[in-house]
């Protein structure tokens, strides 16, 4: 029997109210010590990698969050029977417990910002050209002209990055006031200035939203575009050590890797 897994929760008791998951299957808790893994039974023939499947997965976790601290499990994580789940829970109980304590009563918000990169670059090029007299690179051969062109690109890229850091720093200053943790990615593409996730205590959600509106207002007129999403279960803040190399059982390695695969955002300390 395959078990589709939604979340690890901080309770070993059965879920009292009925919750239905993928394909309308009934959701239940498999206890281990004082925590549990919330699952539904799953047949391999069921094709649930659909938009409806994603929404059903999310809905189950949101329902669980009403009553428990949760560690959301990556969409479409399927374990091979009860023994498979219990084996994984036994190995990572301490890590799960620590995460549950850390993430209790906290939710995740996503913030994405597109900036007018073309205009900013154009402005930087014009500024560079005005100041160009300061840089004296001879251009009496094609090799030297190549270096001159590369140097211009290098300086403009540096200034572009400095500008991005400056904008992100200002925005993050407002958001961080109300966030417990954050993970930010700068310039994933030239236009996508910021792709960030913030972990916020439930009691500070409104303050966080207000900070967003405060930032959004004055920047929108300057060509910035914003996307705000949440509150979500804390998908990006489950921190598990990569222990899979220490595991001898290859099947268990696979299971563990499934659980931690969603940790793919890097920290903000580079900015």
């Amino acid at each position: 029997m395959k078990l589709y897994t939604y979340s690890i929760i901080d309770s070993s008791k059965q879920i009292t109210e009925p919750i239905y998951g993928l394909e309308g299957a009934c959701v239940y808790n498999i206890p281990y010590c004082d925590i549990g893994a919330v699952v539904s039974e799953f047949t391999e023939s069921v094709q649930s990698k659909t938009e409806d499947g994603v929404l059903a997965h999310e809905e189950v976790i949101e329902r669980l969050m009403e009553s428990f601290a949760v560690l959301p499990v990556r969409f479409h994580t399927v374990f091979d029977g009860r023994d498979g789940i219990l084996s994984m829970m036994r190995s990572y109980y301490k890590d799960f417990r620590n995460n549950l304590d850390r993430l209790r009563n906290k939710v995740e918000f996503g913030i994405k910002v597109i900036w007018p990169s073309d205009k900013i670059k154009e402005h930087l090029i014009n500024t560079y050209k005005k100041d160009n007299e300061k840089v004296s690179i001879p251009d009496d051969s094609s090799n030297k002209r190549f270096i001159k062109k590369k140097f211009e690109e290098y300086r403009i890229d540096e200034e572009f990055e400095k500008k991005a850091n400056k904008f992100i720093k200002v925005m993050d200053m407002f958001f961080s006031k109300f966030a417990a943790e954050k993970k930010l990615k700068k310039l994933k593409t030239e236009n996508l200035l910021l792709d960030g996730v913030y972990l916020v205590e439930r009691g500070k959600q409104d303050d966080f939203k207000e900070a967003f509106e405060h930032i959004k207002g004055p920047h929108t007129g300057a060509g910035f575009k914003f996307l705000f999403s949440g509150p979500w279960p804390p998908y990006n803040f489950v921190i598990l050590p990569k222990k899979s190399d220490l595991l001898e059982d290859s099947e268990q390695k696979d299971l563990f890797d499934k659980v931690i695969q969603h940790q793919d955002l890097v920290g903000a300390d580079k900015i």
């Binding site: 949101e62 270096i147 290098y154």
Partner: protein, 113 residues
């Protein structure tokens, strides 16, 4: 208490486009299978060469900025970097690879370039 999650933006299509662009550029795995193993390996090798080429270029620019290169050295460095860039373009053309494909997602460490 339910979460009542929302996604708020006036520009959904632009955000989808940017996210797709960033995902396309950063595969989590090298796509190597019996049908395209040559291209998969070429992509991995060229990504590493591109990383080294960019590091060399950056180092050279820092030296230009510091004014520590003589006229003759600028000439030599220019020639070397230009040849490297041309050779990379040629190799990318042979294997049908674009600039944005030459990158790797290193998981928690971030992107290679």
């Amino acid at each position: 208490m339910t979460l009542n999650s929302v996604v708020e933006t006036d520009f959904p299509e632009e955000f989808v486009e940017e996210m797709e662009k960033s995902n396309d550029a950063l595969p989590r795995k090298i796509d190597a299978n019996p049908k395209n193993v040559e291209k998969g390996l070429a992509k991995l090798v060229l990504t590493l060469i591109e990383l080294i080429r960019k590091l060399l270029e950056k180092q050279a620019m820092r030296r230009v900025e510091a004014g520590s290169l003589s006229d003759e050295q600028i000439e030599n460095v220019g020639e070397t970097l230009m040849k490297l860039e041309n050779k990379m373009e040629e190799l990318k053309g042979i294997f049908g690879l674009k600039d944005e494909e030459l990158n790797l997602n290193l998981g928690p460490l971030g992107d290679l370039m």
